[in-house]
Amino acid sequence: MVPALDVRDLRVHFLLDEGTVRAVDGVSFSVEPGKTLGIVGESGSGKSVIGQSILRIVPSPGKIVRGEILLRMENGQGEPTQLDMAQIESHGRLARSIRGKEIAMIFQEPMNSFSPVHTVGSQIVEALRLHADVSPQEARNRTVEMLKKVGIPQPEHRIGAYPHELSGGMRQRAMIAMALVCNPRILIADEPTTALDVTIQAQIIDLLKKLQEEFGMAILFISHNLGVISEISHEVLVVYFGRVMEHAPVDVLFREALHPYTKALLRSVPGIDTPVRSHLATIEGTLPDPYANIPGCPFFGRCMECEGRTVCRDDPYSLTKVGPRHFVACPRICVADFA
């Protein structure tokens, strides 16, 4: 089966005066319709840039320097074809007809993700009318219906509300309504719950799961919180410094994570049985200098398990299959003559 989205060896670099930031440096994954891929990693690991490149809205001076972003399309006869998003003109008509229609995105900040001087309803109607040939009245009706689906009370009334009149949770629901109003096949959710408090977080995740069942879209769920990721994802991609460290189905990852970085992330998730005041493990050290070009394992230096063995630093990065759908990039596990 052709996946909804198939990303192969994606590399996105920012060519700055100070040097090159390899924000995404050889990332591959695919996601099936109706499934959710969680992308997890610390701040600055390149998660957002992955999402932006799929939509082709990477801010300049970011460039896709290599790789394919294959989007499943239907041709006239109902047979699937693939369109390489990496090859098309980012401001062109084709890209614009895909953005919002085939691939939609929701963002972290429910506060500023809507224009403050336009009503929420008009911004949703605009998204719909951009891609569907509908009358203003029809667009309004469908917007009201969508607002109802995402659980906004009194949608006929709230359609005329300005963003500042809605609570954070309501705004994020409205964001979801805007993203799904054109019935996209892929939804990229970039930290959609990070700015919300825990109960609202759970509500939004339940909502996304419910809508996924109803609409069958594939979801890329980006978060730095493995706990949140585990709630919604079928598979998880652990990224660090623009590279995939580990890629596994969610149950496998939580049962038998192999990469020391994944294990460190897992240790930093508060469990239900963690005493409230106990000290959560944090990962020692910080991300490497973003301008650095590291051939080996980027986690070298922060890793608790390699004990400074130079093979970790020197062995070129590669992702190795260790189980049916389980991949890991750790020389300690993958290099045969690891000493």
Binding site: R96, S97, A104, S115, V117, H118, E126, A127, Y162
Partner: protein
């Protein structure tokens, strides 16, 4: 919205009262009253006036009344459109200032339009193409425009057009139209002269507006709602004009109120250099010759215009920015 406008208009009332008191005080400031000046003028020219006649005059103008009665009398006359008498010109103030104030308003309005029309596209271009050579070029000229005082610009333009184009650009009308009654030809002639003061007074403001628009827009372009609009599939031009530009010009709308007095005083200086029949030079001479009814009325009218300008810009701002509109409703 209506409640906001009404509330805003009620706030104007105490402001206007304060302004009227200040204007009246200015009229009363010189020692004696205007009959003293009148008598002095008469005796200087060798004529006399007897006490009975003087008292009659005094009574006719209400000068024998207590000061607060005079104030209310003056305000009442003002409201009815009677601005008093100019002694320097020996004419009713109203006939002196009507056309001049109209011309001042005309120049201010044109300058404001000029400022917006020129600065908006340039500001947007500079922000969207930040650090392009065109941005640097426009920034450079913007700073020159900002740094050149109006009177200097006016002098340079006068000299240039006289020396190289062989024409005088002073005044607002060609000689044959100055005394002529209003006609379409006179109006066209006015338009031919109008661009010069508009250019001179408007340049500094345009340069300032370009800087403000560019700065605001650069901030707004980084906001997440721009990315949201882009992710929807809007074209770049459309989304920039519809979203960040709309938000970026809001603060400028609120400046209309205080640009008006700035423009009026800018026009005053330019008008002296260019010999324009606007309010500025007349006000200046009225102040210097202590022609206090004239000066007081001028100050009063220009202040009222400023207050009205502020009102208009506040209403505009509430209209374009729902956050202000709703904030007002909540606190009302």
């Amino acid at each position: 919205m209506l409640a906001y406008i009404i509330r805003r208009m009620l706030i104007m009332i105490p402001t206007l009262i304060a302004i009227s008191i200040i204007s009246f005080t200015i009229i009363q400031l010189p020692p004696g009253d205007f009959l003293t000046t009148y008598v002095a003028q008469l005796s200087a020219s060798g004529e006399g006036i007897d006490q009975a006649e003087l008292d009659a005059l005094r009574h006719r103008f209400g000068l024998d009344q207590p000061i607060y009665v005079q104030y209310f009398q003056w305000v009442w006359n003002f409201v009815r459109g009677d601005f008093g008498h100019s002694f320097e010109w020996n004419k009713p103030v109203r006939s002196l200032i009507g056309e001049r104030i109209a011309l001042t308003i005309l120049i201010s309005t044109c300058t404001l339009l000029f400022t917006w029309i020129v600065s908006l596209p340039i500001g947007i271009y500079s922000a969207v193409r930040q650090y392009s050579w065109m941005d640097y070029f426009l920034t450079f000229f913007g700073f020159i425009g900002l740094a050149t005082p109006n009177f200097l610009f006016a002098l340079i333009l006068l000299w240039f057009s006289y020396a190289y184009l062989g024409m005088s650009i002073g005044g607002l009308f060609s000689p044959q139209f100055i005394e002529a009654p209003w006609s379409f030809a006179k109006f066209i002639d006015l338009l031919k002269h109008l661009w010069i003061p508009v250019l001179i007074v408007g340049t500094g403001h345009t340069a300032k507006f370009i800087r403000i628009i560019r700065g605001n827009l650069l901030d707004e372009l980084k906001k997440p709602y721009v990315t949201t609009a882009r992710a929807k599939g809007l074209s770049e031009t459309k989304l920039i004009l519809k979203y960040p530009v709309r938000v970026a010009i809001n603060p400028l709308v609120s400046t209309i109120g205080w640009t008006l007095p700035e423009l009026i005083s800018g026009i005053a200086i330019t008008a002296v250099v260019l010999n324009l029949p606007t309010s500025g030079p007349l006000l200046l001479s009225a102040l210097m010759s202590q022609d206090m009814h004239l000066a007081g009325s001028f100050i009063m009218i220009l202040s009222i215009l400023t207050v009205i300008g502020t009102l208009i810009s506040d209403i505009l701002l509430a209209w374009v920015d729902p956050r202000i509109r709703f904030g007002a409703r909540e606190s009302a």
